[in-house]
Symmetry: C2
């Protein structure tokens, strides 16, 4: 059985861990509520069904004494989280480091600091959120796109995809995971900041307002331009596609808005700041993205 270590025990980490818990040698790092999870397990509610699983739980990475096949990192991407320092707490470097995280250009630090590890970058398309300690509700989707950073998909990556697919996760390989990150960012860098800055509008309210819809489109266009300058030729058709795909879903709040309302830190740097840094490095003007970033930086 593959040895899997999950770091980041939020909704994303727990959902995907639950899928492979029975088929792997699974350990999860759990900093808070350690004993509660050992006693009661982790519960996933999906389609009115409850699943409980009891992985091995550690509350200190130093207690993990083996070399894991895959260290799945499902933390948020925040300036306050030093991922390199966290991974270095491990006695043995993981064979593969798997980043299931949001944002753009988030891999470079890990790629540079852990040259001995194979690095898999992954995008989750899922609506799942925490209900209470160790309890998560899954609303929609559950897809993963995985590829090696900076490109390709090696055998370990394909094996992990096969493992997820064998356990009812729609997982697929990407030969250009950075391109997929830019594609996802088209939605993330527009809807997330705007949902917070409009005082808490859901997707329908944002798109019902003509000025706001126009702003979303302008930000999307800037992201597509940045992606093109980064070597990925995204089409402007993505703008309408993102809007149409959003309109067919029932109205919902973005993850950044949910974080803001719950007084949790927002992934502003990963989702907006990194894109802006890239724009600056290429002297590309992105006034719409710059505006929402400046406003969010005061929060």
């Amino acid at each position: 059985m593959k040895k899997i270590l999950v770091i980041g025990s939020g909704a994303i980490g727990c959902f995907f861990a639950s899928k492979i818990a029975d088929k792997t040698d699974l350990t999860m790092l759990w900093r808070n509520d350690y004993q509660h999870v050992i006693d009661h397990g982790i519960k996933i509610i999906s389609d009115c069904k409850e699943t409980i699983f009891f992985p091995k739980i550690i509350n200190n990475l130093k207690d993990y004494q083996e070399q894991c096949d895959y260290a799945i990192i499902a933390t948020k991407v925040l300036p306050s989280i030093n991922l390199t320092a966290i991974i270095k707490e491990l006695k043995y470097p993981p064979k593969n480091i798997v980043l299931i995280q949001n944002g753009i250009h988030i891999e470079k630090e890990i790629y540079k600091n852990f040259p001995q590890c194979s690095l898999i970058s992954a995008l989750a398309f899922i609506a799942v959120s925490k209900v209470s300690c160790g309890v998560f509700e899954h609303f929609a989707y559950g897809r993963l796109t995985l590829g090696n950073f900076p490109s390709g998909a090696n055998q370990d990556c394909l094996d992990l995809i096969a493992l997820f697919k064998a356990n009812n996760v729609e997982a697929k390989a990407s030969e250009k995971i950075e391109e997929d990150r830019w594609k996802k960012l088209v939605w993330n860098a527009s809807f997330n900041p705007v949902s917070v800055l409009t005082g808490g509008c859901d997707t329908k309210k944002l798109l019902d307002n003509k000025n706001c819809k126009d702003l979303l489109q302008k930000i999307m266009k800037e992201i597509i331009e940045l992606a093109c300058q980064d070597g990925y030729n995204l089409s402007n058709d993505l703008i309408n596609k993102n809007i149409e795909d959003t309109l067919v879903m029932r109205p919902y709040k973005t993850s950044m808005l949910l974080d803001y309302e719950a007084n949790r830190p927002m992934e502003v740097e990963a989702i907006v700041g990194n894109a802006l840094n890239f724009a600056k490095s290429k002297s590309i003007s992105t006034p719409y993205l710059s505006s929402v970033y400046a406003l969010l930086s005061c929060y």
Copy 2:
């Protein structure tokens, strides 16, 4: 004695009315709390001193049976307030209509609809706010700039200025009141929206944040460009001047932020929307102003 009618019994209207109450035949329109003000008068607290005055109070403009010399309009500029309809309730059109209001391009409708009246446009520089029914606290300044719309300063305008000056109001004439409106808008269109959209920052917090200060400067630059296209050559030096003038004051909340926090309507159209409409009419791109407008339009 000059017959003065004040429409708009908020902090601005009451403060300037208090200054000339003894020297004029003063009537104020008071929609709410009508009887309370008749019984208790209007109180202005300034420099720890209280002034109470008892103007004639009406709660319906139809009760004003004379022709006034000056109808001073000190309402907010809001889409919900139809100023033409309000003034038409008067039996006799005023000799002069005086707009002490915020924003840009706010005079045209009145200018067109009341060709028989002389139109005076005025800008107030003052920090005064409502404490309770009929009670207002004055914190700083108290200046007025007045001029005829679209330009010049006729004898009635100069007489009104003289009246204010004789009663300790620092009032001055402007031959180009529209230029003065653009100048004031450089500050108003930047600090007001950004203070609301950053979740409620005061002036110091806004200027302490590098990204936010940069955004304020970008919006100011756009307003200056619009003013130039409207025929008023404002200098870019105004950007630093506005910031320096703000930094020497103690930190304060903008009027739009105070309105937002008190759940009162905000003057978004007068201060931002009208400038944007002008930009569109001239095909001038103002991405920073457009961004804050789009976000505020969801509030």
